[in-house]
Every structure is written in structure tokens, then in C-alpha cells.
Symmetry: C2
């Protein structure tokens, strides 16, 4: 689906006109292409207090062949880096900023007092103007709930307000996140860095992610981290589901594409193109969960499930007939629950299986005319929270919550509401189905086992929220 | 401060013009006045599954002299109520709605399966049009994290999406909340019901509050629940702080009003009017915390502290000089932390003391040009979260997070931004300082001891969020 204004505002004539009229000029977002480096430019490293992630960062940057420069707030980075065979120098030696930056990574794990957080201010005060368009900012902290000292917990929690404000002011397609790295997970940062520093996270911003220690080995091949994995994608015949199937196949997965029998032709086409398999089933059918578990067992057990299938049936509650409540809740919530249960009970999942549920910002913030939809999508978050601690060790379940994504579904929204949805976020535009797909691919990767029970919004930092 | 559009749109001519032009017509919100009943009209009671709060609701409604009617979703309410000497009947016996309602209270604690939640839909489908303007909706559930069964946790969590959507579609000044009542806290609902059902909660909507069991006895006098309590209010010379001091005094408290020495005249006037005491101190001064603890000890220990004092120093981070970061963080975060610590260490708080910190939706959602402010206000949330489990048993600490509140501070915001802030919420208007004050008074009440470590937004369900 296309965003005519985005295209216009970035044409030669449109850009001039938008400039004259003071109209917003959303930046065309960079997206992943095969063969690209993870970060196409210099990464500035900053830190405060006594940072705890520098060795882990060094190892990860070396593995992903990223070029780093040091902010004055981080002591000894260049010496450490050069010793490890990674070229690195001081970004700026005086008042003048150094060269352009594609990313800033600030290690905030050492911030134990509010006063120490001034280093955070200094680093971004110095560097933010040097960030190139579609740049990336990552602040790495410690989970406040795991901090032994109250002031440390306070300052770590304060990072969230900083990150969300910075995400709103950087503009130019720059994405800003906060990753809380639990003690013990330091050496397992690479997969998360690769996602958040690369164009794969184009439409994810202002998010807070927690990384816990885990046991799975890193992928042997970062180009195809899902090689050999069998993964079910529901609602795969079109839109976001088709994009998910495609992205997972690109990353090496054998995709089982599921959709309703009425969509069989489109489903078959997607499955054939991806050398996957089609499964024509209506998940609203009470027999479906059993049939799906059967299919998984016949495959020798699946490595992942993406619960993407979902419907909307918008009406204000006073005007909503009962079947719109029932049908929607059945498809969006009961079916996900029943499929998980059948797969788990029958042992139809591999020991390190990953479940990803598609929620929605509507489930987080609520939406007029969507009591049924928001109930179901908040329920999906409930499902993730309640299942995460109950899953067999090694498995994980998470949700993605898309904001305004350009699809046939959103193309049908009346113009004024569509435009509001598109612009009311920090990217000034809607996301693409591939943005949701890339986020799901990251959650399915062996490198993401430490992400469990979480909700990651793919919404360009939509203004809409709790 | 006044909202000219609100007044205009509710004048005879303005209302006609607004109607013709399709402009929003925000409803003048009802606010608490002495002598009013808690709820000025009928309360509809609904329920699903096997509800667990009906006896507690019955006792609370009787105590607050509320008139109830039963929705068809709740079995046996009228019999129970009549037996207890509370007049109650079935609201509607057929297809036609019953009489007008001032509130709907839905006991969702019995919802153990997704299918059972259809009762929730039914109740609000039937009743929502009968809600009077400035009506109240309360959905009462069980904390998902305390549910022993996964599906129960899922459906309880799903309530949040429902409540937030309903809050967005009811309009007409109607406020909608979700209260999670922990097992054991059933009999302690009254204080929370009194707040959320009355006009005291005028500008609070779309909120989720958790109520844990506690030991404090209910107030002997609901008109002056703070009678005899000594409470410090910082930043009390004007604006929201003055309103807080005034509301606490109305509720019986002896207020210690603190502000900077430069505001001494205004401060003295507020303190005299409320028969309280003035304390002219700059909390940014490192000696202040000790002096405050000294004052508390001289008073024999305080029962509450309201950390309202705060400043803004807006600049995008690239343009922000270091002192704007330092000064703001000192006043908004370090001072709160230091005062709490001094009071606790020196034993200058009563055993059931209550601490209330003023955060901001900017600390939750982030805001352009406010990296310093949002850092400090997210830090306040961190302070509340980290202190709550560390406080001596019997004490509690919570935050309120105001949205757009009409003050001299907001009157200085440029018109277009001010109008956006005012209208981008479910009430279509800004809040008044008294709305923040009423919420703080509720948190300070002996009846709220079971509310601890929480953040309650006073924002009219502002669109801005995480």
C-alpha cells in the first residue's frame, strides 16, 4: 500500500512546497536489504558511572563488523577496542562535534545515582545533531526491578522518560530504544543489537525491552538465523501475514502458511513462492486446534508459531450485535489460546519453540468503536503474560503490537482518520507489513530466547497509549 | 484558569454554532461540593461468571446510601439487597432499557473464561446509552498476576482493553476505570468506590488501579477522612500545590505548606487561609531535607507528604545547556528522594504515613523538548516503584501523573499547542488543579492503604501514552 503524501513530500517539487508551507516531511525509512552491513556508518559509544557492558559490546561490535568511535563519557574504550583488533578513536576531542554517526549506543548500566545520569545528557547533547537520517539510538540499562539499591532502581527507571522524549525529538526516521539487560545476559546482547541497530527495526521506536539470561547458542549463521526451523504463520494469505511468512522464509525458515479455506488460492500462491506448505483451516472452528497440533506432530514438532490471524468488527458497544462480539473474540483470542494449549499438551513443539502473538496498540490504549477488538488484543497481552512463566524452560512467548501499518485493511479507512493514524507518530508515516515481520523474525531467532513475556510495539512511537 | 472554548461551546449561541459546524462540545464536568451524595442517581450493578464482590458491594453501597438497580447479568442482587434493607429492583425486564443511570458497576471477578466475558458486553451494550452525563463506570476484576489459572489471568487482563475503549466512546464527561481487587481486599472497597463513583474523580479516566488487602480501619468520618492528619505539601504557594493544600484542609488535614522563600507572601496567605503552617524553604538546597525532617519531628511526626514542587526547563537536548539538566533533576527528583530518606531515617513519619509524588504524563509518554523533565518524572515513577516494597509495613507511596491541567503554567503555552493538549483526551478539555488534588486526597485517605506503588493519571484519558 502506498503513502501518497510521503512520496509527494519527498519529490523535488513536493519537498519545496512542503518546506514553504511548513508541512511535515516524513523521511523514507531505510529497510533491510540482503548483503547490507548491520550498521552503515560509525557507532558512537557512550557510558556513565562504571559501565558493565563494555566487554560485551566490544565482542558484539567486532562480530558484526561495526566501526565504533568513543564519546568522552566512556573511559578506555579506544584502548580496549584497539587491543581487541577493532579500530576505534575518540569521536571528538574538543567543543566541535566529530564525524557523522549512524548510531549511538549508551551503556547506562553503571548509573547508580541520579547525579551520574548527567553523562547521559552530555553524550546526547553532544551527539544528537550528528546522527544521520534513519540512525539508531540504543540506551542499555539494568532492569529496575532487579536493582538491589533503591536509587539505582530509580535512575534506571528514569531512563524510560529520557528515551521516549529523545525518540520524539530526533525525527528524520531515527529510532530510539531502551534495552534492560539483566545480570547474566551481558554476553547475549548480539542478536538484540543486530535488530535494533539495523534497518530491520525501521518502524520500532520508543520501546523498552528486557533481556534475561538464556541458554540457547547464538545462531551459527546470522544471514539465515531461522535455517531449518519449522514455523506456523496464521492468516498468511495476504497483508501482514504474507509479509511475515516471506520474511521468515528469507531468514531460512520452512513456513507453514495457514489461512481460511476461502483464501485457499492466495494461500497456495504464498506457500509455493516460499517453498512452504499451505494449511487451509478456519481457526474459529473448534476442531481447528486439534487439526493444527496433528499437522505439527506430522512435521515432527514445530519451532515456532506466529498468531497473526485476526479480524476487526468495529461498532460502538451500544450498536454492536452479540455476534460481532462473539465472532471476534473467538478468532482473535480463544483460537490463539486453544492452539497453544493443543500444541503444548500434545508435545507438538520443539524444546526451544517460540510463540509470537499479534496484539495491537488498540489493545494497549483502547479505541473508540473497538471494545471487542481491544478486549481481545489486551487479552492477547494477558495470554503472553500468563503463559510466559508457565512455559517449559527454553520456550518463550511474546507479542508484537502493530500501530498504523499500510495494508488493504488500513487503505479502507476513511481519509481523515487514515491520515491522522499515519501522521500521529514519531516517524510521521505508517509502517509497512515487513516492519511487523522483521520484529517477529527477531523474536523467533535463537538469539532472542532471553526475551520472554514482553510486548513490543511496531508503531513508529505512535502517540496513542495508556 | 479558564477554557474559553468550553464556556463558549456551552453557551446558548455557542452550542448552536458548535452543533452546526460539527465542532466538539465538551461537557462541563461535575465536581465535588460539600453535602452532595456520593452518587447522584441510580447505580446499575452487573456481573459475570460467579462474582465474588457482591456482598462487599452491598455493604459499601449501603454505607454510602447509593440506590442500586440490577442488570439481568447479575443473579440474586435484588433479593440480597432487599434482605439487607437496601431498595433495589431489576433495571429492565425486557428489550427496553430501564431508567437513567448515574453509574454502572460491573463485578468481573467471576470471569474465569473468555466466553464468560460476554456478560460484560451484554451489560454495557444494554446500559451505556442510559448513562447520564458525568456518569461513572467501574469494572472490578482480579489482578491478573494473582490469578492461579492462565485463562483467568488472560480474561482479567483483557478487561483493560475493554475499559480503555469504552472510556473513549462514552463521551459526555463519563469516566471509566478498572479496579483490580486482590483476594482479601474485598471488604475494603468502600474508599475506592467513593472516589471513583463521585465527582471527585472528574478528570480521571481509563485508569487501572490495584487494591491490596490492608489493616488500617476505615475513616470514622467520610466527610473529613483526613481529620487530625499532619501533611506536608511542597510547592503550595500557587497552582496545583495550593489546590492540594486547600483540598486536604477541607478533608480535615493540618497542612504544612512549603514553597521557596521568594514565594513567601503567597505561601503565607495560603497557609493562613487554611489555618495551616508555612515553611519557606528551597528544596533544591542540600540542607533542605534535614530541615524538613526537623520540622516534622517538631510536629511529632507527619502523616503524609505530597511532593508537588516541580519545574520545567524545556529545550531540545542539542540546545540544552548543562545547568537546565542539573537544576531540573535536582528539584524534580533528587529533592523528593532526599526528603523521603531524611524523614524515614529520622523516624519523622507516623506509622501509617502516606507519600504521594507528582509525576507527569510526560514521564510516561515522553515529550519533545523535555528529555530532562521526562527523565525526572519517569524517575519519580521509579522512586515510587522502588520505595513501595521497601517502606515500613503500614506506609504507602504512590504517584499521580497529571495531563493537561489549567494553570498559569499551561496558560503560557502557545495557543495551538495548548488547544491540542486540551482537546486530545476523552473529556475534550483540560483538567482543573482540584482534580489532581482530589486524587491525592483519595491516596492520602486511611481507606487507601491498599493502594501502594501505583501511578494514577489525572489526564482525562489523554491520548498521549507509552
Amino acid at each position: 500500500m502506498s503513502d501518497a503524501y510521503l512520496n509527494f513530500a519527498n519529490s523535488a517539487f513536493g519537498a519545496r512546497l512542503a518546506g514553504m508551507l511548513g508541512l511535515p516531511r516524513p523521511v523514507p525509512l531505510e529497510r533491510f536489504e540482503a548483503g547490507q552491513p548491520v550498521v552503515a556508518g560509525d557507532v558512537l559509544v557512550g557510558a556513565g558511572g562504571t559501565p558493565e557492558l563494555l566487554p560485551a559490546l566490544l565482542a558484539a561490535f567486532r562480530a558484526m563488523r561495526a566501526a565504533t568511535v568513543a564519546h568522552r563519557s566512556v573511559q578506555g574504550w579506544t584502548a580496549m577496542a584497539n587491543q581487541a583488533g577493532l579500530m576505534s578513536g575518540l569521536w571528538s576531542t574538543g567543543e566541535q562535534p566529530g564525524g557523522p554517526l549512524k548510531a549511538v549506543v549508551f551503556d547506562a548500566t553503571g548509573l547508580a545515582t541520579v547525579a551520574q545520569a548527567e553523562a547521559l545528557y552530555q553524550c546526547f547533547h553532544d551527539a544528537v545533531r550528528s546522527l544521520q537520517s534513519c540512525g539508531r539510538v540504543l540506551v542499555l540499562g539494568r532492569p529496575p526491578e532487579a536493582c538491589p539499591v533503591a536509587e539505582q532502581a530509580t535512575v534506571q527507571r528514569a531512563l524510560e522518560g529520557f528515551v521516549k522524549s529523545l525518540a520524539k525529538e530526533v525525527k528524520r526516521g531515527i529510532a530510539v530504544q531502551l534495552v534492560y539487560v539483566a545480570p547474566g545476559a551481558e554476553a547475549q546482547l548480539e542478536g538484540t543489537l543486530r535488530f535494533f541497530l539495523s534497518p530491520r527495526s525501521a518502524y520500532v521506536s520508543g520501546q523498552v525491552v528486557r533481556l534475561a539470561p538464556f541458554e540457547a547458542p547464538a545462531p551459527s549463521d546470522w544471514v539465515q538465523p531461522l535455517a531449518g526451523k519449522k514455523i506456523l504463520v496464521t492468516g498468511a494469505a495476504r497483508g501482514i501475514g504474507a509479509a511475515i511468512a516471506e520474511t521468515l522464509a528469507r531468514d531460512g525458515a520452512q513456513v507453514v502458511c495457514l489461512d481460511v479455506p476461502q483464501a485457499q488460492d492466495a494461500l497456495q500462491a504464498v506457500a509455493e513462492r516460499l517453498q512452504g506448505r499451505a494449511l487451509a483451516l478456519d481457526i474459529a472452528d473448534p476442531a481447528a486446534a486439534g487439526q493444527i497440533a496433528q499437522a505439527a506432530l506430522a512435521d515432527g514438532g514445530w519451532d515456532g508459531v506466529v498468531h497473526n490471524a485476526g479480524i476487526t468488527r468495529d461498532k460502538t458497544i451500544a450498536k454492536m450485535p452479540p455476534h460481532l462480539w462473539q465472532t471476534l473474540v473467538q478468532v482473535n483470542l480463544v483460537a490463539q489460546q486453544a492452539i497453544n494449549q493443543a500444541l503444548l499438551e500434545r508435545g507438538a513443539l520443539q524444546p526451544q519453540a517460540r510463540l509470537v502473538c499479534v496484539s495491537s496498540i488498540s489493545g494497549i490504549a483502547g479505541n473508540l468503536g473497538q471494545t471487542n477488538y481491544a478486549f481481545s488484543k489486551a487479552g492477547v497481552i494477558g495470554l503472553v503474560h500468563s503463559q510466559a512463566p508457565r512455559l517449559p524452560r527454553g520456550m518463550a512467548i511474546n507479542a508484537v503490537a502493530p500501530g498504523f501499518i499500510e495494508t488493504q485493511m488500513t487503505a479502507a479507512i476513511p481519509l481523515a482518520i487514515r491520515e491522522a493514524g499515519r501522521r500521529m507518530n514519531s516517524m510521521g508515516q505508517g509502517g509497512q507489513p515487513v516492519d511487523v515481520a522483521e520484529t517477529i523474525a527477531w523474536l523467533l531467532s535463537p538469539a532472542s530466547q532471553g526475551v520472554n513475556g514482553q510486548v513490543v510495539r511496531v508503531c513508529g512511537q505512535s502517540l496513542l497509549g495508556a
